[in-house]
């Protein structure tokens, strides 16, 4: 078990270093002088251009040897200095991201958990009923093949424009300021429901298909067959199959994160929902490079934390991992 976690942690640490390095490297690899490109972005803000120029020269430190630039980058990064946003000048990138993070998590976490439970239930159900299976499976495949943003668009169009049930932009109405009252919470939830739903549906297909296949596989395995020869009730066979099938679905949580992130970013854009994804698109449209890099790092850190959590849960649930990593012949 320790070996399993140790290997995983090593991968995560290396991933983190790799990501930060990419973050540092990419602007330096691209053609042209990044500072000039950046400063040109400030032509609209003349009084700040000079300040910016000296700041950027310091930040990039292009006059210094490469290893020192890299080293400085890490120091600044560990101090929480991710640079200054251009598009929201003069807000530091970290502050921008910090205020956007709760909105993203508010949609991300509930949608992941809800669609995991719902998808697995649907998949397990489909594995047992042929009729249901033949109807559900194609639907799930097409949901899985739909671009994440398109599901959002459909929901926005139908519930927001045709039925006019829910607002389709922002996290709360323009006139309101965030505070704790029934009015605000109600308003917030009304804005929350469609982005949540579209992200929920995005992930549903993958879970359902995965679970269906796993349950069928487990039901055909030798231990299920042996249970049959012992004449036990079907409910026990299914219970075991379900439990064993759910284990890979937990590791699947980590693998699905890529899809979820992509879904999250585009969904926020469709609904102009002020999370990290929306900020990221604004940063791209405004060529706010510090902000783009900051978003990248934030996403990576989030993904790493999520991965590690999944590993811990998995180790707690699957005895095979706990015992098999003792000492294999390598």
């Amino acid at each position: 078990m320790k070996k399993y976690l140790r290997t995983k942690i090593l991968v995560y640490v290396l991933t983190f270093i790799f990501a930060v390095t990419i973050d540092w490297l990419i602007p330096r690899l691209m053609p042209g002088n990044p500072i000039l490109v950046l400063v040109s972005r400030f032509s609209g803000l003349p009084e700040s251009a000079r300040v910016m120029y000296s700041y950027l020269t310091k930040a990039f430190g292009l006059d210094q040897p490469l290893w020192k630039q890299y080293f400085n980058f890490w120091i600044a990064f560990l101090k929480g200095d991710l640079g200054i946003s251009i598009y929201l000048y003069p807000k530091p990138v970290l502050d921008v991201l910090k205020s956007a993070l709760p909105y993203s998590l508010g949609i991300l976490l509930p949608s992941i958990l809800a669609s995991w439970f719902a998808g697995n239930s649907i998949g397990a159900l489909a594995a047992r009923r042929r009729r249901l299976d033949s109807i559900l499976l194609p639907i799930m495949y097409f949901i899985n093949g739909a671009p994440y943003l398109w599901l959002g668009i459909i929901l926005a169009y139908y519930f927001g424009v045709v039925l006019r049930w829910f607002p389709i932009a922002g996290a709360y109405s323009f006139g309101l300021r965030p505070h704790l009252s029934w009015l605000f919470v109600g308003n917030f939830l009304k804005h929350w429901i469609l982005p949540f739903l579209s992200l929920f549906i995005v992930q549903l297909g993958g879970w359902a298909i995965g679970m269906r296949n796993m349950v069928i596989y487990e039901l055909e395995s030798n231990y299920s067959r042996f249970l049959e020869t012992l004449g036990v009730k079907n409910s026990l066979i299914r219970k075991y199959a379900f439990r064993n099938a759910i284990l890979p679905q937990i590791t699947g949580l980590a693998l699905q994160l890529g899809t979820v992130i992509a879904g999250q970013v585009t969904t926020e854009v469709v609904f102009s929902y002020p999370g990290i994804g929306y900020i990221l698109t604004q940063a791209i449209l405004n060529q706010d490079y510090f902000l783009i890099q900051g978003c990248f790092i934030f996403i990576i850190i989030g993904v790493l934390i999520a991965n590690f959590t999944v590993d811990l849960v998995y180790v707690a649930l699957d005895p095979r991992i706990r015992y098999s990593y003792g000492g294999e012949i390598s």
Partner: protein, 318 residues
């Protein structure tokens, strides 16, 4: 006592039915270990599994099975459920991965028993006694299958299968993956189940006739879905009558036989396809005694008490 009459078990494939067990009649008496031997694809495993768990692609085509005077509804998956485990059990070929990998073994047994409406406490003592019988410590009940060696898992499955003292136990190729030393131990344990009265009778399926000589009371030889010969162990080994049995036994290398002293020879040819098996005797194409009469279904010839063969060329008391 198990009585099987005219049993036919076919596999359904896209190209038609594979007649894996085709019109088989035999019995296993109380207190008896019947050895079932034959080459791969002769239908011995199908027969063994069919008596416990008959499900697609295996199909019941005909015949009747009676256990202790009661009809065994092997063709009815649901009605058969009551008989499994309590009356008929199997130690499957895949015994080494027959346990649920994510349950501690004690809890697993508890849940199985509960599912059959049996209180765990009422069999706890039996269970512990049986563990001792197969040389497993009591603490395995607190372990996960992955903590056990392959051999230990197999013996655990042996204990579970026989826990409710079924009348009939089927052991399907349990020793084929084992080393000789372990093979001997496991064979003797299985025979012990019968001798201690835990099970009334056993069908021991194997491709190794010399193993049967060690433990079987009677031996039944199958070829291409049909019975070739049945008899007491000594009758089959010392006085084989069906040409197939004879050739099988003379092709058997054993410690004590060297090529310099006696060059053995195999059986030329291959077993027939069971999709469209040949008419008459199924061994005729490989048989040195073959003639026209073999195109008709071979008769059952009783040579002496308990010793029968399905062959035109075997004469009673010859």
């Amino acid at each position: 006592m198990l009585e099987v009459r005219n049993l036919k078990l076919y596999y359904r494939t896209l190209r038609g039915y594979v007649r894996a067990v085709d019109d088989v009649t035999f019995q296993v008496r109380d207190g008896e270990l019947l050895g079932l031997a034959g080459e791969s694809g002769c239908g011995k495993s199908t027969l063994g599994n069919g008596l416990v768990l008959l499900k697609p692609p295996m199909n019941f085509v005909g015949g009747e099975v009676q256990l202790d005077g009661e009809k065994l509804p092997i063709e009815d998956y649901e009605r058969m459920r009551d008989y499994r485990f309590k009356k008929v059990s199997i130690i499957p070929q895949y015994a080494m991965d027959a346990l649920n990998p994510t349950r501690k073994i004690g809890r697993y047994i508890e849940e199985i028993l509960e599912s059959r409406g049996i209180n765990f406490e009422s069999v706890r003592e039996t269970l512990i006694e049986r563990l001792r019988l197969v040389n497993l410590p009591e603490r395995v009940l607190r372990m996960y299958p992955i903590e056990l060696s392959g051999g230990m898992k197999q013996r655990m499955v042996m204990v579970i299968s026989t826990l409710l003292n079924p009348s009939l136990l089927i052991a399907d190729e349990v020793t084929s993956a084992l080393d000789v030393s372990t093979q001997k131990a496991v064979c003797l344990m299985i025979r012990n189940f019968k001798e201690l009265g835990i099970v009334k009778s056993i069908i021991f399926i194997t491709h190794d006739i010399s193993v049967l000589y060690q433990i079987a009371d009677r031996i039944m030889i199958m070829y291409a879905g049909k019975i070739a010969e049945v008899g007491k162990t000594a009758q089959i080994i010392q006085n084989p009558l069906h040409p197939y049995t004879k050739m099988l036994l003379t092709s058997l290398p054993e410690v004590g036989v060297r090529y310099t002293e006696r060059m053995l020879s195999g059986i030329p040819g291959q077993p027939p396809q069971l999709l469209e098996p040949p008419k008459g005797c199924r061994f005729k194409e490989r048989c040195p005694l073959r003639d026209k009469v073999c195109d008709k279904d071979p008769p059952l010839v009783e040579i002496e008490e308990d010793h029968v063969a399905y062959c035109w060329k075997v004469k009673p008391n010859a």
